[in-house]
C-alpha cells in the first residue's frame, strides 16, 4: 500500500494533471525560471566577452607579452617517428616510405625556386635586423632564403630516399622559432652536434652535417613573428648517419651549441637538445 502511494506521488511529481504541474512547477513558473536563466546567462556571456575583448586589446599583435618560458628554444627532428622513435627495415619499403613522404612534404617549401621567388639572399654570418622606427612598423619584414640544396645529400634531390633505403638515413633538425631570439653573440653562429648516449657511443659511427658543421646561420635571426614575417624560412640542419650499427636500438642526442643559449631545465628533454631512438633493421 505504501508502495502504491509512493508510486503515485512520483507520477504526480513528474506530471500532476490536477495542478498542471510538471516536476512540481507550473508551466509559467518554469517559463519564468528559464527566462531568468536566459537573461542571466546572456548577461554573463556579454560580461565575459567584454572582459575578454578588453584583455585582447591589451595584447601586442606582433610579440606576446611574456616569453620567459621560451628562454631555451626547443629542438625537434624530422621525421618525428612514433614517439621520437625512428625504426624501419631497409628491405621493407613500407616501413620507411612514410618518413620519405614526411621529409618531402616538410622540405617542399624550401625548394630553391620557391625560395628565390619569396625570399631574398642575405648577407651571411650576421643578424638580419629590420628594426621598426618608433611607432612606425617596418612591415612586412623580409626573410632570407634557405635553399633545399643547402642540405646537399639530405636534400632529397639526388637521393629520393634520403638514404633510408641504403641504411644511411638523414634526420633533419630544427631549432624552435622564438620571436626576437638571437642565438649567438660575437658573430658566432650556433651549431648542432649529435652523439650517442654513453653505452651506444661506439655504435653511432660517422655522422655528416649539412650545411657544413651543422650551423644555423645568423642571418636567419632574429625572427619577427608570423604576422610581420610571413615568409620566414626556418633554418635547418640535416645529419646523415653514414655507418650506423644496424639491427640495434641506438639512442642519439643532438644539442645546440651556442654561446648565449642558456641550458634548459633538467626536466625538459627538448630544450636546446633533442633525443631520439634510431633502429635500422636489415633482416626480413
Amino acid at each position: 500500500m505504501a508502495k502504491d502511494a509512493e508510486k503515485s506521488t512520483w507520477k504526480d511529481f513528474i506530471w500532476n494533471s490536477r495542478t498542471r504541474e510538471f516536476c512540481g512547477r507550473t508551466g509559467s513558473s518554469w517559463g519564468l525560471i528559464l527566462l531568468f536563466y536566459l537573461v542571466f546567462y546572456i548577461f554573463l556571456a556579454g560580461m565575459f566577452c567584454l572582459t575578454m575583448y578588453v584583455m585582447l586589446q591589451t595584447l601586442d599583435d606582433y610579440k606576446p607579452t611574456w616569453q620567459d618560458r621560451l628562454g631555451t628554444p626547443g629542438m625537434m627532428i624530422r621525421p618525428r617517428g612514433k614517439a621520437m622513435e625512428i625504426s624501419y627495415n631497409t628491405t621493407n619499403t613500407e616501413t620507411w616510405d612514410m618518413y620519405i613522404k614526411t621529409l618531402d612534404n616538410f622540405l617542399s617549401p624550401y625548394n630553391n625556386s620557391l625560395q628565390a621567388e619569396k625570399n631574398e639572399e642575405c648577407t651571411p654570418d650576421q643578424y638580419f635586423v629590420q628594426a621598426d622606427s618608433g611607432d612606425v612598423k617596418n612591415n612586412p619584414k623580409r626573410s632570407c632564403q634557405f635553399n633545399r640544396t643547402f642540405l646537399e645529400k639530405c636534400s632529397g634531390l639526388d637521393d629520393h630516399t634520403y638514404g633510408y633505403q641504403a641504411g644511411k638515413p638523414c634526420i633533419i633538425i630544427k631549432l624552435n622559432r622564438v620571436i626576437g631570439m638571437l642565438p649567438g653573440k660575437d658573430g658566432q653562429a650556433p651549431f648542432v652536434t649529435c652523439g650517442a648516449k654513453k653505452e651506444d657511443s661506439d655504435k653511432i659511427g660517422e655522422v655528416e652535417y649539412y650545411p657544413e658543421n651543422g650551423t644555423f646561420n645568423l642571418m636567419y635571426y632574429p625572427y619577427y613573428g608570423k604576422k610581420a614575417q610571413v615568409n620566414y624560412s626556418q633554418p635547418l640542419v640535416a645529419i646523415k648517419f653514414l655507418n650506423i650499427t644496424l639491427n640495434e636500438d641506438i639512442n642519439i642526442e643532438c644539442r645546440i651549441i651556442s654561446n648565449n643559449i642558456p641550458p634548459g631545465s633538467v626536466r625538459d628533454k627538448f630544450a636546446g637538445k633533442v633525443s631520439f631512438k634510431l633502429r635500422i633493421n636489415t633482416k626480413g
Binding site: 509512493e6 542571466f40 606582433y62 607579452t65 611574456w66 626547443g74 614517439a83
Partner: protein
C-alpha cells in the same frame, strides 16, 4: 555476518524468557543490524566488482563499466528505499507486539502467600535452602539486567567509515581507482591524477571517520563516568539465617528483607510490611512514595500494593518479600529489553544528507551520462569516454564537505556540552532544531523531584510558601502566632532528620532520612524558623504513634519549652478531614476559638482549593494537655492509647507538591513561541499533572480542558464540543481505549496535552502517534519507564543527574543539569547549525562548478586543461575548508526561536533552489572568472583563444615539441605544460578570490550582509587564511615540483582584480536575494 550475530541474539532471548514479543524483538534486531550495513555491503560489492574487472578483457570492460556506473546509482537508491519500507513495517510490528507483554506478567500478586511459597519451593520463615538457591542461580542466571547488546567498537567505527556522506566519497574513490586501472591497462604512461584522487578521497574518508569516531567515543566516555559502580547488597534469609549477599546472587524464591534507604534487589511479593513505602518514580513516574502491604489491591501488578519492584527504592519502613522475578524478567528488566529491541530510525540530518546525496548523485550522473554521449559522438573511443564519465562523476563529489559537516557538527556538540547538553551521537546535534514536539516527563524534568511545602492555611487564609530552588520567591507573613504554632507542630510531629555532615550545604540541598512529605516539612521549618533539631531538643518527645493507614494520622507527645510549664504538648498531623473531626477549636491569630460551621466551611474550601492544585494536603492540630489529668511523668501508652486524641485544637493545613523547576515555565514559553508543542507525559495523577502543567505553562493560562468547560457551564462533559477545548488531560486508562484515529485526532486538535497515568508502552504509543503525524519528536525522561520512548523518539533526552543508566543508554542526548531549560538551548543550537550547515554546503558546492567546467570544456572543445586535479584538491581540502567551517560560527540571522520548526518534508537541507543558486548562478560566475584568468595567462604567453579550440591532441602529445602558437613561436611539451600549470594556478587563485565573495554571499540567507555585519571573527580569519594558503601554494619555491603549481606574475595577479568585477556581480546577486531567488523556503 550480520545475520549470524542476530541469530545468536535471538537465541539468547528465547532462552531467557519465552514471551510473545521475544521473537518480534529479535526479528527487529536482526533487521536493524542488517540494515545498518547496507552501505558496507554496497562498497564490498563494488570492490569485488572492481577486482574482478581486472581479469576481464578490455573491450568488454568498457561496456561493463557503463552498466556498472548505471547500476550503481540504481542499486544505491534501491537499497535506500528498501530500508525505508522495511523500517516502516518494523515499527508497526513492534507497536503491535507490546500490549500483551506486561499484562501477561506476574500473577503472583494475586496468589496467596502460601501459594507463592509453593510455587517457588520456599518457606516463609526459613527461606530457600542454600542448595536450592545455588540451583536456581544456575537456572536463571545472575540477578542483573543484561546490558543492551552494545555494538562492537569496530562496527561503530565502520559506521563512521561507511555511513552517510562517506559512501559518496568511497564510490568516488573506487571509481577513481577503476579509471586508473583502465588507464594503466591501456596507456604506457598513465597520468597519476586518478590514482592520487582516489587515494586522497580514501584518506579523507578515513581521517574524518576516525575523527568523528573519536569524537563520539569521547562522549561515551563521559557516559561511562555516570555509571554507578557500587555493587548492590541484599539481605536475604536462607535456611533461616539472615545473610547479606551481593544483589546479583539473589534468586527467585529468596526471602528478602528491605528497609528504608535500600534499593529493592528484585521484584518482590511482599509478605509482611511495617510502614513500608517505596518510591516507584523511576518506574511509573509517580513522585509520591507508595506504601506496600501484603494484600493484593489491584489486578494490575504495577498498581497493586503487594509487589515491590526491582531497582526502585524503599523510602521508609521495613518489608519482607519473596523474590518472584530476577534480572531481565523483572518489570524493570522487561522495559529495559523493550528498549533494546526498538529501532530508533534515522536522524533528520541523516535523512537530509541522504537527500543531498541523491541530488548530488543525480546531478553527477546526469552530467556524466550527457558528456559521455557527447564524447562518444565527438569521436572519442569508448574507453576514453568511460574515463571522462568517471572523471565527471568524481568531480561532482565535494571532497571537503564530509570533513566540513563533521567539524561543524562537532563544534556545535562542544558548544552544547558547554551549555549542559551532552550529545551522544553527532548527528543528533541538529535533531533538536527540527523538533516540533517535545514529550516531556514530569518528575525530575519539569519538576524538582523534591516534595516542597507550597501552601499553608492558617488564620483562615491561604499563604504561599516559597517553592523556588534558590529561595528567591515570595515569602509570607511569619509574625502570626498561628504560624508559630503550626511550625511547632510541623517540627515536632515529624520523624525526618537531616543526614549528618551536611551543615555547610544549603538547606534545600541536604539529604534527609525519612518520608518525602516529612522531609518537605522539615526543610520548610528549618528554612523559616531555624534549627528543627533545637526545637526538638527543647521539646523532648515523650510518646509517639507513627502513621498508619487505618488511623491516617501521626501523633507525638512532647514536653513544653517552658520549664515551668509542666503540661504536655500533644501534636498531631494527618489527613485533613480526619484531623478536623478530632478538633473542637481552631487557632485564629494565635487565639483559640471554637470551631463553628463557618470555620468548617472555609476549611473545606481551602482543602478543596489546595487539593485542586494537585497538592498533598496535611492537617495539623495540637493540644496542651491539662496538667491535672496528665501530670508530669504520666506514662503514655501508645499501643493501648490511654490519653485523649479528641477535642484538639486545629492549627492549620500545609500542602506539598513537587514544584516545577524555576527555569521551566520560561523554557516552555520559549518552546511555544518557537512553534514546538510541549506534551506532558507522566505516570502521575491527572490532578497533579494538570496542576504542574498549568504551573509551567504547558496548559497556558485561559485555556480550558473539556472538563473545565463542563464545570464552568455546568453541563455534562459529553455535551461539550471537544474542539472548543484547546487543552486536554488524558488518563492512561482512557488512552488504552482510544483507536489510532482517535489518538491522531487528539494529537492534531489539541495544542496543549497532558497524559497522566501512562505506562511505558503508552508513552511509546504517544511518541509513535506524534511521529505518524509527521512530527519530529523529542522525548525527555529519566526513569527506566521512559527509556523505550527515549529510544523510539527522534531524539531522546535523558537526565544526567537523576536519570537511570538505562535511560541514558537509550537517549541520544543527556542534559547534564537535568534542566528542561537546557533543551531550549539545544533547540536553538540545532536550528542554528541547520542554517549554518546550509550555508556551508552552499559555499562548498559553489566551487564545484568552476572545478567541473574546465574538464567539460577540455573534453568538448579540446582546449588545454584549465584546472588540474591537484589544484581542485587544493581548493576543496585546502582553501575552502576554513571559510566553510567558519560559517558554523555565524550568528543567527533573526530570532530563530520565534520561527516555526522546519517542516521535514519541505524544508530540506539542500534543495533544488540551493543547487540552482550554487551551481547555476554563483558557480557559473566563478567559472567565468576562472576561465578569464586562464585565457589571460595563455594569451599573454602567445596562445590566443582562437587557436585553443581543438589544440588539445597536439598540446598533450609528449612527442610534439614544436607546437606553434598564435605568433608563430614553437613550444616544447614541457614549456607549454608550465604555461598550462600556471593556468591551473591562476584558475585556482581566481577561485580563491571569487570564494571570498562567495563566503560573504553564503554568510546570510535572509538578511543583507549590511544587516548581518561582519562580526564573525573566524570567518574573517578564514578569509585571510585562505588567501595566505593560496599565496603559499603558488609562491613557495618547490611547489612547481611538488604540486605543479607555478608562481603567477604580479601582473597576472593584478589582472585578477578584474575578477573582482565578477565578484561585484556576485554581490549584486546577493543583494537581490531577498527579492527573488534565495528565499530557501
Amino acid at each position: 555476518m550480520a545475520y549470524s550475530q542476530c541469530f545468536s541474539v535471538s537465541l539468547s532471548h528465547t532462552n531467557t524468557h519465552t514471551h510473545t514479543y521475544a521473537l518480534s524483538l529479535s526479528l527487529s534486531l536482526s533487521l536493524s543490524l542488517s540494515l545498518s550495513l547496507p552501505s558496507l555491503s554496497v562498497s564490498l560489492f563494488l570492490l569485488s566488482l572492481s577486482l574482478s574487472s581486472f581479469s576481464l578483457s578490455l573491450p568488454s570492460l568498457s561496456l561493463f563499466l557503463l552498466s556498472l556506473s548505471l547500476s550503481l546509482s540504481l542499486s544505491l537508491s534501491l537499497s535506500l528505499s528498501l530500508s525505508l519500507s522495511l523500517s516502516l513495517s518494523l515499527s508497526v510490528s513492534v507497536s503491535l507486539s507490546f500490549p500483551p507483554s506486561l499484562s501477561t506478567f506476574q500473577t503472583e500478586h494475586k496468589m496467596s502467600i502460601e501459594e507463592c511459597c509453593r510455587k517457588f519451593n520456599t518457606d516463609i520463615v526459613q527461606g530457600l535452602t542454600n542448595a536450592k538457591a545455588a540451583e536456581f542461580l544456575i537456572r536463571d542466571g545472575p540477578n542483573c539486567l543484561t546490558p543492551p547488546p552494545t555494538t562492537p567498537e569496530w562496527i561503530k567505527f565502520c559506521r563512521q567509515l561507511f555511513g552517510g556522506f562517506s559512501i559518496l566519497l568511497w564510490t568516488g574513490a573506487i571509481l577513481c581507482f577503476l579509471a586508473y586501472a583502465i588507464q594503466a591497462a591501456t596507456e604506457d604512461e598513465p597520468a597519476g591524477d586518478n590514482l592520487y584522487l582516489g587515494i586522497v578521497l580514501s584518506v579523507v574518508v578515513v581521517v574524518t571517520g576516525c575523527f568523528s569516531y573519536f569524537q563520539e567515543a569521547k562522549s561515551s566516555k563521559i557516559m561511562e563516568s555516570f555509571k554507578n559502580m557500587v555493587p548492590q547488597q541484599a539481605l536475604v534469609i536462607r535456611e533461616g539465617e539472615k545473610m547479606t549477599i551481593n544483589a546479583e546472587e539473589v534468586v527467585a524464591g529468596d526471602l528478602v528483607e528491605v528497609k528504608g534507604g535500600d534499593r529493592i534487589p528484585a521484584d518482590l511479593r511482599v509478605v509482611s510490611a511495617h510502614g513500608c513505602k517505596v518510591d516507584n518514580s523511576s518506574l511509573t513516574g509517580e513522585s509520591e512514595p507508595q506504601s506496600r502491604s501484603p494484600d493484593c489491591t489491584h489486578d494490575n501488578p504495577l498498581e497493586t500494593r503487594n509487589v515491590a519492584f526491582f531497582s526502585t527504592n524503599c523510602v521508609e519502613g521495613t518489608a519482607r518479600g519473596i523474590v518472584v522475578c530476577t534480572g531481565d524478567r523483572t518489570v524493570m528488566g522487561r522495559i529495559a529489553t523493550l528498549t533494546s529491541g526498538l529501532e530508533s530510525g534515522k536522524t533528520p540530518i541523516a535523512k537530509e544528507i541522504e537527500h543531498f546525496i541523491h541530488l548530488i548523485t543525480g546531478v553527477a550522473v546526469f552530467l556524466g551520462i550527457t558528456f559521455f554521449i557527447l564524447a562518444v559522438c565527438l569521436g572519442y573511443t569508448w574507453l576514453e569516454a568511460v574515463i571522462f564519465l568517471i572523471g565527471i562523476i568524481v568531480a561532482n563529489v565535494p571532497e571537503g564537505l564530509l570533513a566540513t559537516v563533521t567539524v561543524c557538527l562537532t563544534l556545535t556538540a562542544k558548544r552544547m556540552a558547554k551549555k549542559n547538553c551532552l550529545v551522544k551521537n553527532l548527528e543528533a546535534v541538529e535533531t533538536l532544531g527540527s523538533t516540533s514536539t517535545i514529550c516531556s516527563d514530569k518528575t525530575g524534568t519539569l519538576t524538582q523531584n523534591r516534595m516542597t511545602v507550597a501552601h499553608m492555611w492558617f488564620d483562615n487564609q491561604i499563604h504561599e510558601a516559597d517553592t523556588t530552588e534558590d529561595q528567591s520567591g515570595a515569602s509570607f507573613d511569619k509574625t502570626s502566632a498561628s504560624w508559630a504554632a503550626l511550625a511547632r507542630v510541623a517540627a515536632l510531629c515529624n520523624r525526618a532528620v537531616f543526614k549528618a555532615g551536611q551543615d555547610q550545604l544549603p538547606i534545600l540541598k541536604r539529604d534527609t532520612a525519612g518520608d518525602a512529605s516529612e522531609s518537605a516539612l522539615l526543610k520548610c521549618i528549618e528554612l523559616s524558623c531555624g534549627s528543627v533539631k533545637q526545637i526538638r531538643e527543647k521539646n523532648k518527645k515523650v510518646a509517639e504513634i507513627p502513621f498508619n493507614s487505618t488511623n491516617k494520622y501521626q501523633l507525638s507527645v512532647h514536653e513544653t519549652e517552658d520549664p515551668n510549664d509542666n503540661r504536655y504538648l500533644l501534636v498531631m498531623k494527618g489527613a485533613p478531614e480526619r484531623i478536623l473531626d478530632r478538633c473542637t477549636t481552631i487557632i485564629i491569630q494565635g487565639k483559640e476559638q471554637p470551631m463553628d460551621e463557618e470555620m468548617k466551611e472555609s476549611f473545606q474550601n481551602a482543602y478543596m482549593e489546595l487539593g485542586g492544585l494537585g497538592e498533598r494536603v496535611l492537617g495539623f492540630c495540637h493540644l496542651l494537655m491539662p496538667e491535672d489529668q496528665y501530670p508530669k511523668g504520666f506514662a503514655f501508652d501508645c499501643d493501648d492509647v490511654n490519653f485523649t486524641t479528641e477535642s484538639l485544637c486545629f492549627v492549620g493545613l500545609m500542602s506539598m507538591i513537587d514544584p516545577p523547576r524555576a527555569a521551566v515555565p520560561d523554557a516552555v514559553g520559549k518552546c511555544r513561541s518557537a512553534g514546538i508543542k510541549v506534551i506532558m507525559v507522566t505516570g502521575d495523577h491527572p490532578i497533579t499533572a494538570k496542576a504542574i502543567a498549568k504551573g509551567v505553562g504547558i496548559i497556558s493560562e485561559g485555556n480550558e480542558t473539556v472538563e473545565d468547560i463542563a464545570s464552568r457551564l455546568n453541563i455534562p462533559v459529553s455535551q461539550v464540543n471537544p474542539r472548543d477545548a484547546k487543552a486536554c488531560v488524558i488518563h492512561g486508562t482512557d488512552l488504552k481505549e482510544l483507536s489510532q484515529d482517535q489518538m491522531d485526532d487528539i494529537l492534531r486538535n489539541h495544542t496543549e496535552i497532558v497524559f497522566a497515568r501512562t505506562s511505558p508502552q503508552q508513552k511509546l504509543i504517544i511518541v509513535e502517534g506524534c511521529q505518524r503525524l509527521g512530527a519530529i519528536v523529542a522525548v525527555t525522561g529519566d526513569g527506566v519507564n521512559d527509556s523505550p520512548a527515549l529510544k523510539k523518539a527522534d531524539i531522546g533526552v535523558a537526565m544526567g543527574i537523576s536519570g537511570s543508566d538505562v535511560s541514558k543508554q537509550a537517549a541520544d542526548m543527556i542534559l547534564l543539569d537535568d534542566n528542561f531549560a537546557s533543551i531550549v538551548t539545544g533547540v536553538e543550537e540545532g536550528r542554528l547549525i541547520f542554517d549554518n550547515l546550509k550555508k556551508s554546503i552552499a559555499y562548498t558546492l559553489t566551487s564545484n562548478i568552476p572545478e567541473i567546467t574546465p574538464f567539460l570544456l577540455f573534453i568538448i572543445v579540446n582546449i588545454p586543461l584549465p584546472l588540474g586535479t591537484i589544484t581542485i584538491l587544493c581548493i576543496d581540502l585546502g582553501t575552502d575548508m576554513v571559510p566553510a567551517i567558519s560559517l558554523a560560527y555565524e550568528a543567527a540571522e533573526s530570532d530563530i526561536m520565534k520561527r516555526q520548526p522546519r517542516n521535514p518534508t519541505r524544508d530540506k537541507l539542500v534543495n533544488e533552489r540551493l543547487i540552482s543558486i550554487a551551481y547555476g548562478q554563483i558557480g557559473m560566475i566563478q567559472a567565468l572568472g576562472g576561465f578569464f584568468s586562464y585565457f589571460v595567462i595563455l594569451a599573454e604567453n602567445g596562445f590566443l583563444p582562437s587557436i585553443l579550440v581543438g589544440i588539445r591532441l597536439n598540446w598533450d602529445d609528449r612527442a610534439c615539441n614544436d607546437l606553434e602558437d598564435s605568433y608563430g613561436q614553437q613550444w616544447t611539451y614541457e614549456q607549454r605544460k608550465i604555461v598550462e600549470f600556471t593556468c591551473h594556478t591562476a584558475f585556482f587563485v581566481s577561485i580563491v578570490v571569487v570564494q571570498w565573495a562567495d563566503v560573504i554571499v553564503c554568510k546570510t540567507r535572509r538578511n543583507s550582509v549590511f544587516q548581518q555585519g561582519m562580526k564573525n571573527k573566524i570567518l574573517i580569519f578564514g578569509l585571510f587564511e585562505e588567501t595566505a594558503l593560496a599565496a603559499f601554494l603558488s609562491y613557495t619555491p618547490g611547489m612547481d615540483v611538488a604540486l605543479r603549481m607555478f608562481p603567477l606574475k604580479h601582473r597576472h595577479t593584478s589582472t585578477q582584480t578584474d575578477i573582482h568585477l565578477h565578484k561585484q556581480i556576485v554581490i549584486d546577486i546577493h543583494l537581490h536575494k531577498q527579492t527573488y531567488t534565495y528565499t530557501n523556503r
